[in-house]
């Protein structure tokens, strides 16, 4: 019995540490010689990494290159510049509404994520621990909701958003994004809640705690890694969302970064490549920074949702 308990108590950490602990790959690698590894491992890996990262290098380089170097590839080496300029970036930040778009995206992402996490925590707890009548079916339905893609929903949703009087307001996005986020984060949190030993809850129930107190005082503090994972992943999904923002928002001052870059920054046939690339780079930076701090959580969110 105690063994079972100890094992259960160890599980939340195990889920997180799975990446690090389950890494036995050094097992037989000593059998390979260095030249052999060069060809079978480092060379293909280097090539793939090069292809994966080159667009970002190109993005960053373009955003600091002077215009004449961008268009003249014969006199200047296109792969490098010795005279970087901040012209494109300052132009983007001070001559366009880019800061407003960044703010809109941030606002929508934070609000939609907060709403979704709140709804998901309650739903996941009810599905895993209350085990009410029909919990299994509801769980299945929520999983199905995850499989409904936005590109099928945006047409009827646009009429719904119009009916509710939300068209062309940030609320149109704040209230529709949770439909993408809730199914995902509910499944993720269900996985985390399952790893918390229910004996803890039984003790709390015996001591007279209500379900709400159990949730806020016992479950949530133990599920913090899961909450962080869900938060980061939802935030990324919001930032990435495009089709709803494109359909439901028409005034420039309410647009999000991805939509605004495509619709407002691209004007006519003269593409302002420097500003466009600067916009794309600055728009990605918040996510990349967030990702750099929470790599482990991010990966566990991604793989956790798939494994469930």
């Amino acid at each position: 019995m105690t063994d079972v308990l100890a094992e259960k108590a160890a599980r939340p950490q195990r889920v997180l540490a799975a990446q690090a602990n389950a890494d036995h790959s050094e097992g037989m690698s000593y059998l390979n010689s260095v030249p052999r590894r060069m060809v079978t491992l480092y060379l293909p890996l280097g090539l793939i990494l090069l292809v994966l990262l080159f667009p970002f290098y190109w993005m960053a380089l373009t955003s600091v290159k002077p215009d004449e170097q961008l268009l003249d590839m014969e006199t200047f080496n296109p792969f490098w510049t010795w005279s970087p300029t901040l012209k494109h970036i300052t132009k983007l930040l001070f001559d366009t509404q880019y800061p407003t778009w960044l703010w809109n995206t941030m606002l929508v992402a934070v609000c939609a994520t907060a709403l979704s996490i709140f709804a998901s925590v309650l739903a996941a707890y009810a599905l895993v621990r209350l085990r009410f009548k029909g919990a299994t079916v509801t769980g299945g339905l929520i999983f199905l909701a995850y499989l409904v893609p936005p590109s099928i929903l945006f047409i009827p949703l646009s009429t719904v958003v119009y009916q509710y009087g939300l068209f062309d307001t940030p609320f149109a996005l704040i209230l529709t994004y949770p439909t993408i986020l809730i199914p995902f984060s509910t499944w993720l949190l269900m996985g985390y809640f399952k790893t918390i030993p229910f004996e803890l809850e039984e003790c709390a129930l015996m001591d007279g705690a209500s379900r709400w107190q159990i949730l806020t005082r016992i479950i949530l503090p133990l599920a913090v890694p899961g909450l962080i994972s869900a938060f980061i992943f939802c935030f990324t999904l919001c930032w990435n969302e495009f089709i709803y923002a494109l359909t439901f928002i028409s005034s420039t001052q309410y647009k999000t970064v991805p939509v605004a870059i495509v619709t407002a920054l691209v004007d006519g046939d003269i593409y302002r490549w420097g500003s466009l690339m600067a916009g794309a780079m600055i728009g990605s930076l918040p996510l990349v920074i967030l990702y750099a701090f929470f790599v482990e959580h991010y990966v566990s969110a991604m793989t956790g949702a798939v494994k469930e």
Binding site: L52, P55, A135, F154, Y291, V295
Partner: protein, 318 residues
């Protein structure tokens, strides 16, 4: 509890259990309240629009105008519309080619990342970056990379002497198709690789050691250990990959808007064009609804085609 309280002063009066008290601990009652926020969102903004979409596909609704029921007229119209069938063809081509290549490269990359090497953690973190960056923003970078005049790819190939003319990446029918497929693969590989890597790390190394002692070649170790143990996770990953590729909108919209001559229109971009740009909501809804059977079929194939018994996941009791 009552025994413990006997010595001390009774903190609270003991009273009859009321119906309200019973209700407060009733699981179904509590469950309903806990489910309420999530259910409200999903019903108002997901289930209702999904049904409404199917209904709209049977009406002649326009932007800003309620439609009346017209039966299968929209579908009849689509059946005779060559652009619709072209978009179906494009979608199937896009999904099949991109998914297969994503799977192949993703699995290969996962196997490479599973090796022991210096800076392993950093390399793994870096691999995922294309997946983190919003699709639209990387699609813009690809748009620039595929520029007809200033493409760095054309420039490099010309310098190497492989081509004499710039490649018209997004202006030629088949070039455009391969270009968007390439961009999709570029974005999808990290997701496949990192999730498969998580699966690979659960495979016990002693299996490989035992197989090596028995004289198994590297290919046999992959075919008879790695692959069977990985099938459940491959099934899930590929289902998601197929789902997201099939319903892709962003990449196409940013890079080609469905052009040249509709050669890269997917069903999603086509329905956007018909419903929002031209205002024929009913027709757009019919295209979107027509995606559902394809989608279900694609999910079924990747799910049941790759699904294996549960013992492979390490479960023995259910």
């Amino acid at each position: 509890m009552s025994i413990a309280l006997q010595g001390a002063k009774p903190a609270r009066e003991i009273r009859e259990v009321t119906a309200w008290d019973r209700l407060k601990v009733n699981k179904n009652w509590l469950g309903a309240w806990f489910m309420l926020p999530a259910a409200a969102f999903l019903i108002l903004f997901l289930a209702y629009p999904l049904g409404l979409g199917v209904w709209l596909s049977f009406t002649d609704a326009r932007l800003g105008r309620e439609g009346v029921f017209v039966g299968l007229e929209n579908y009849d119209f689509l059946r005779d519309d060559p652009v619709f069938w072209l978009s179906v063809f494009n979608t199937i081509l896009y999904t099949t080619v991109a998914s297969i290549i994503k799977f192949a490269i993703g699995l290969y990359l996962a196997l490479l990342l599973n090796e022991n090497m210096p800076f392993k953690a950093i390399i793994r973190a870096v691999v995922l970056i294309p997946f983190i960056v919003p699709t639209v923003l990387s699609a813009i970078a690809f748009w620039w990379l595929f520029d007809p005049q200033f493409s760095i790819i054309s420039w490099s190939l010309k310098k190497m002497g492989l081509i004499t003319q710039n490649i018209d990446f997004l202006g030629d029918v088949w070039n455009a198709r391969w270009s968007v497929i390439f961009a999709n693969i570029w974005r999808g590989v990290p997701f496949v690789a990192i999730t498969l890597l998580a699966g690979l790390q659960t495979v016990s190394p002693s299996l490989y050691e035992a197989a090596t002692i028995d004289g198994a070649s590297p290919w046999q170790r992959f075919r008879f250990i790695t692959y069977p143990l990985l099938t459940p996770i491959i099934a899930v990953v590929m289902t998601f990959s197929v789902l997201f590729t099939f319903t892709d909108f962003q990449l196409i919209w940013v890079m080609t808007r469905g052009g040249p001559v509709n050669a890269t229109h997917l069903m999603a971009t086509f329905s956007y064009q018909r419903a929002i740009m031209s205002g024929y909501l009913g027709e757009g809804a019919a295209i979107a609804t027509a995606m559902i059977p394809f989608l279900l079929a694609a999910i079924m194939v990747s799910w049941f085609g790759l699904q294996r018994r549960k013992w492979q996941q390490g479960a023995d009791n259910d």
